[in-house]
């Protein structure tokens, strides 16, 4: 494949919105990134993360060669090793001692080959994916309600709705492009927006109403809504009658869960007026879309939440019609594509499960020698099985379970016990590799991969390679096929291109499909290579003989159950999996922040994206700040029964009193004490197996960090134990935030050693616990460390732009004063990541007369691209006007 400088239309690798991207090589290994105006997911818009994709392509962190037992080897050797070691494990411990842990980052074609190899040929059902942590509850809810893993509606419904309810979704930060679509719809048609979320997120701030619901009580709110729809005769009785079953039983259960307005208010923590207003708005608006995301999914009762929401839509027939319906916002770019191929432990393939007929059908289609006949272990159970020795060999592809799984420290420990840990990765190091991967396989990364992804509205889009693969990186499907061939399955894995895999996948979806499976893209099974390459975004199903997609489903029934009827599903009385206690009196909620993605292996490379929230933090209500003896801007040790982290305290009324929020992104690569996964209890939902990640009982104790500081470096630094640190990317390197409770004098030799290969200018003042080092290589500033009493250390932003600059010897010591050469102050904390606009610049624009976000945008560009900082701009405006009042 030739790589030129022509623009390539591809898709963004981040969230499930699935935005189209136009990537244009700059001829030097980089890409200019723009939104694809023709892509129906985003019509040219990109969020801060997508817009910064060009900053994440550096090769310094890439895994470029296969590595076996710590030694670089060629591919043949690596694939031989994988095949022989897998064979050995299977011979010794049986087929089910092998497991795969896949990722919503994989392309559908990669996913398909992995699933096929495991479930048909290696003969292990233990194939699960990080989608289990993301949207498994929506999947389970949809399957229980509709009979299949189908999202009925589409993004266009957001444009046409009159009421949008966002439940457990901080779309303004996590799905910014869809959120801006909602904002645009509000402007165009006055769409009402209600946000149901325990936190007053940036999304909630934009809403007409924010219902700060008690954690885990969404089911109560929607059960109450169902009873009120019934009691005020707002039901679509014809739809219920014709297309559903189970309404009566579900309504009766709803009355038990929400027996009265007062009980509903009490359980949800909302006022009766808030509940009534919500019910009225929902009931009285025909065109209503209820969006749900991780706040619903990452719950031990997430499936009940989904079916309770779906029930209200079924009961009013508000489904599958323009401007209506339940709509799940997916976390990952290809969570849905992974499910289509069967990349979950409780699916076999192509939306088929483990009914004997289905197993037999897939076996015949694949000509599979070792077809599995039942469900495998879901993610949390799978890693428990690793820990207790049932799983001996694990192949992790494109994900970082040592960070992201609940009880992640235990997961990391468990990984170390494996006989065989295979990791297919882009990066040369992460916490999972660090757990002792025996084989490291360099996989192609986003800009090099070729295949398809499916977004949250069932839209299959091509992801196209735009840059050549560096080093010896290979597509995941190639790696898997190579192993399959060595295991003797070459004939079934003789793929030469993603197009060939896609055709097989599409053919399976239509194989003996008499309409019982909604997922049917057999209309695409005979695409030629060129047609595949040119495939325009298309929504499934695409049955045989059809080349057009399907925008909505179920508007006129036709559910994917044996009787074609949707199911009302009675919910259990919602209670959180673990109760708070005197020892752990708080609820720890976890989630994403605006400018980072997952474990930051990519977004962490972008200077722009690092600046918004540079350190791992915990949001704490001011009442709890006082109650736990913390201070705003200080540090807290956050502890649960499973683990602990030390995080910067942000006092804010965004969270309710009694609840705290910490982001999931920091790893052992990017922080010393910022891993939050280890704290999460992860009790799982009985249907979806998805772990509860947003309500772990926790406690906090203040951590006094009397010393603080920063480091700047071009590459990694081995910071000494005893320092708290976190790291972000800056132009040309990294900036490290440092803190220490203990005196740092004992660390001074180790700190000096950080730059032992450089010429160093140093300020050392042990009595004040001050050490400042500026390191020079070839007369240029190569790095720095500044540590001193907290609050008295110059800001790193002043020095960071000087890294890489040349300094005359006589001027070097002056750098240690930490003062800017021209007296220019740093621009303050970053607000707008798209245009790198800091808080100070925005305040200056306000001072110069900007009175709204549009004027700020006109003055300094902030907020004019993805819009995810608009809530923050509004907050700044409000602060200024409050201060002026």
């Amino acid at each position: 494949m030739a790589f030129g400088t022509a623009s390539v239309r591809t898709t963004c690798p981040y969230c499930g919105v699935g935005c189209g991207v136009v990537a244009t090589p700059d001829g030097q290994g980089g890409l200019a990134i723009a939104g694809d105006p023709a892509h129906p997911a985003n019509f040219g818009r990109l969020c801060s993360k997508g817009a910064a994709l060009g900053e994440t392509l550096g090769l310094s962190t890439r895994l470029l060669h296969p590595v076996v037992d710590g030694k670089q080897v060629d591919w043949a050797t690596a694939l031989d090793a994988v095949a022989s070691r897998l064979t050995e494990v299977i011979t010794t411990h049986g087929r089910e001692s092998v497991a795969f842990y896949l990722s919503g980052q994989l392309l559908t074609e990669d996913y398909y080959v992995a699933n096929k190899l495991a479930k048909g040929f290696l003969g292990t059902p233990h194939v699960d994916t990080n989608s289990r942590l993301c949207m498994a509850s929506s999947v389970a809810g949809h399957r229980r309600s509709f009979g299949a893993d189908v999202v009925p509606g589409c993004y266009a419904d957001l444009d046409e709705a009159d009421l949008i309810v966002l439940v457990g979704s901080n779309a303004a930060w996590c799905h910014p492009v869809l959120f801006q679509r909602i904002v645009a719809a509000r402007r165009a048609r006055g769409t009402r927006l209600i946000v149901v979320d325990p936190r007053r997120t940036a999304t909630a701030e934009e809403a007409d109403r924010h219902l700060a619901i008690a954690p885990g009580q969404d089911t109560v709110l929607f059960a109450h809504l169902l009873t009120q729809l019934a009691d005020t005769d707002a039901l679509d009785r014809a739809f219920i009658e014709t297309h559903t079953t189970g309404f009566g039983e579900t309504l009766a259960r709803a009355r038990e869960i929400a027996p009265s307005l007062a009980a509903t208010a009490t359980r949800t923590g909302l006022s009766e007026a808030e509940v009534s207003e919500f019910v009225g708005a929902w009931r009285d608006t025909d065109k209503v879309v209820t969006v749900y995301s991780q706040g619903v999914n990452q719950s031990a009762q997430g499936t009940d939440k989904v079916t309770s929401i779906v029930a209200c839509h079924l009961a009013t027939g508000r489904i599958g019609k323009p401007g209506t319906g339940p709509l799940s916002f997916t976390g990952q770019p290809n969570a849905m594509g992974g499910r289509e191929v069967g990349g979950l432990a409780n699916m076999l393939a192509a939306h088929m499960g483990f009914a004997p007929a289905e197993v037999d059908r897939v076996r015949r289609f694949w000509n599979a020698p070792h077809i599995v006949t039942g469900e495998g272990l879901k993610a949390v159970d799978l890693f428990d099985a690793v820990a207790d020795g049932r799983i001996k060999a694990l192949w992790v592809m494109g994900t970082n379970p040592a960070v992201s799984l609940p009880r992640a420290d235990a997961v990391r420990t468990a990984l170390q016990t494996l006989d065989l840990l295979l990791v297919s990765e882009n990066v040369v190091s992460n916490d999972t590799l660090g757990a002792g991967a025996h084989v490291r396989l360099p996989a192609a990364a986003w800009s090099e991969k070729d295949g398809t992804v499916t977004n949250s509205e069932r839209r299959i889009s091509r992801q196209r390679a735009v840059l050549p693969r560096p080093g010896e990186a290979k597509p995941d499907w190639w790696i898997l096929s190579g192993v399959a061939a060595r295991l003797g399955y070459g004939a079934a894995f003789a793929y030469t291109s993603p197009a060939a895999i896609f055709r097989e996948h599409a053919a399976l979806s239509g194989f003996e499909n008499d309409g019982a499976r909604a997922f049917d893209i057999s209309g695409l099974a005979d695409l030629g290579d060129e047609e595949y390459d040119a495939l325009a975004p298309i929504q499934w199903p695409v049955p045989r003989g059809q080349r057009e997609g399907t925008v909505r489903l179920f508007g006129a029934g036709g559910f994917v159950t044996t009787d074609g009827r949707a199911r009302f599903v009675p919910a259990a009385m919602p209670t959180l999996a673990a109760a708070v206690s005197p020892r752990y009196p708080l609820r720890l909620n976890t989630g994403r922040i605006r400018d980072q993605w997952h474990t930051m292996t990519r977004t962490g490379l972008s200077p722009r994206l690092g600046a918004h929230r540079p350190e791992p933090f915990v949001e704490v209500h001011p009442d709890d700040v006082a109650r736990f003896g913390l201070s705003d801007g200080g540090f807290a040790k956050v502890e649960t029964a499973h683990g602990e982290a030390v995080l910067r305290v942000v006092a804010t009324e965004v969270v309710r009193s009694g609840e705290i929020f910490a982001p999931i992104h920091w790893t052992a690569e990017t922080s010393s004490h910022g891993r939050v996964g280890p704290l999460v209890a992860g009790a799982t939902d009985p249907y979806s197996g998805q772990p509860e990640a947003k309500a772990t009982p926790a406690t906090m104790t203040p951590v006094t960090m009397r010393r603080a500081g920063f480091a700047l470096s071009r590459g990694p630094l081995s910071l000494p134990d005893g320092l708290w640190w976190s790291r972000i990317a800056v132009a040309g390197g990294f900036a490290w935030s440092l803190a220490s409770d203990a005196p740092i004098e004992a660390l001074v030799p180790a700190i000096r050693a950080l730059f032992s290969d450089c010429e160093c200018a140093e300020l050392h003042d042990p009595a004040r616990d001050v050490i400042r080092i500026a390191a020079f290589a070839d007369a240029r500033l190569a790095g720095a460390v500044f540590i001193g009493p907290a609050g008295q250390v110059p800001r790193w932003e002043t020095l960071a732009p000087m890294v890489g600059e040349a300094f005359a010897p006589a001027t070097r010591l002056a750098l240690l004063s930490g003062r800017a050469p021209d007296g220019a102050a740093a621009c303050g904390p970053l607000v707008c990541a798209c245009f790198s606009v800091g808080r100070d610049a925005i305040l200056a624009a306000v001072a110069a007369g900007a009175t709204d976000t549009a004027a700020i945008g006109a003055a300094v560009m902030a907020g004019t691209n993805c819009g995810s900082c608009l809530p923050e701009l509004k907050r700044l405006l409000a602060e200024v006007s409050r201060a002026a009042a």
């Binding site: 010429e759 160093c760 200018a761 140093e762 300020l763 050392h764 003042d765 042990p766 009595a767 004040r768 001050v770 020079f776 001193g788 008295q792 005359a808 010897p809 006589a810 001027t811 070097r812 010591l813 002056a814 240690l816 004063s817 003062r819 050469p821 007296g823």
Partner: protein
Amino acid sequence: MRERLVVVGNGMVGLRLVEEVTRRVPERFDITVIGAEPVPAYNRVLLSALLADEVTDEECRFRDRRWYLANRVRLITGARATGIDTAEREVRIGGHGVVPFDRLVLATGSEPIRLPAPGMDLPGVITFRDLADVALMREAARRGSPAVVIGGGLLGLEAAYGLARAGVAVTLVHLADRVMERQLDHGAARIVEAAMRERGIDIVLEAQTAAVEGRDQVEAVRLADGRRLPAGLVVVAVGVRPSVGLAVGAGLSVERGVVVDDRLATSAQRVHAIGECVSHRGTVYGLVEPGYAQAVVLARRLAGEDARYTGTLLATRLKVSGVPVFSAGDVTPPAGAEVITLSDAAAGRYARLVVAENRLVGAILVGETRHAGFFQDLITRRADVSGMRDALVFGPRAEATAVAFEPETEPAAEAVAEAA
């Protein structure tokens, strides 16, 4: 009748006293100056610069003989005072007889310490104290034979620097683990050593001289560890001691130096002492600056004022081998003191401050002495620095911001002049 004022010693301090006295009370004294060297007082501090050809003979001179005549000062050169009779108020001068006095001032300075090692009397073994030594070193440079300088104090460094600049291959051997250990800590010393090495001077630290070897002329220096350093010239610069022989012979109270009080009076009536030969409040100063201060105080007293000398802050501000060095106050931090260091060894920059009880009590600057005056002033005034403690090492606050990143302009010539 004028009082007879006799000054023994025609060094820099002796001359300064004479200048001050003749300026203040030109009619009061008949002054006689007795100098051992054959020439009038000259700038001893510039000897290494002279050797290095950085200054001329002319620039080292202070006052010519006409000046002495014009001011009615009798200058006896090439004459060594050999005794004092305090009762008779006479100074004996070898074969020249006696000089009676009403007031006697001892400004005999210091004499080099000689090592108690074999071979120190071989031709080619010299000290570095006067113009005669410079002449010998120049001669050695012409011969092109290598030189060994024994002693890494200020004097030794100056000698080595001067020799190196004169084109001699120089090895400096020093007993301590760093040069100028009395003025500099390790960090500062390393920078000075690096500057020396950059000028081609080989430095051997922690080296004890066992012997100087040679038959008719020095040929090598042998170290205690057996190493043998070939040398056609050996400069012994292991230190100086106060020249107190005269005072001891006269029965004056002498400790390390001639004991003087704040009036610079010795234990004998009408006998004063100033300069490097004195011990004042237990301190013997090895630098010219306190001597000058003493000269001024004594001159004022001789003029009838009630001036007192209470001591001088030990401050060294000069160029060591071309590297500006400033050292003031307590270099060894007292117990409980806080030490702040700012260093850039590769750039030849070093600063170390010692702060005790919120006061700056010591400072060392190497390579960059722009703020020497600022620090010296803080030490002298015993100023409370708690308000500027954390940025102190960067100098005066206003300047640190404005000038911090400016390329520096080094007032080289001025610094040399200030060395006196």
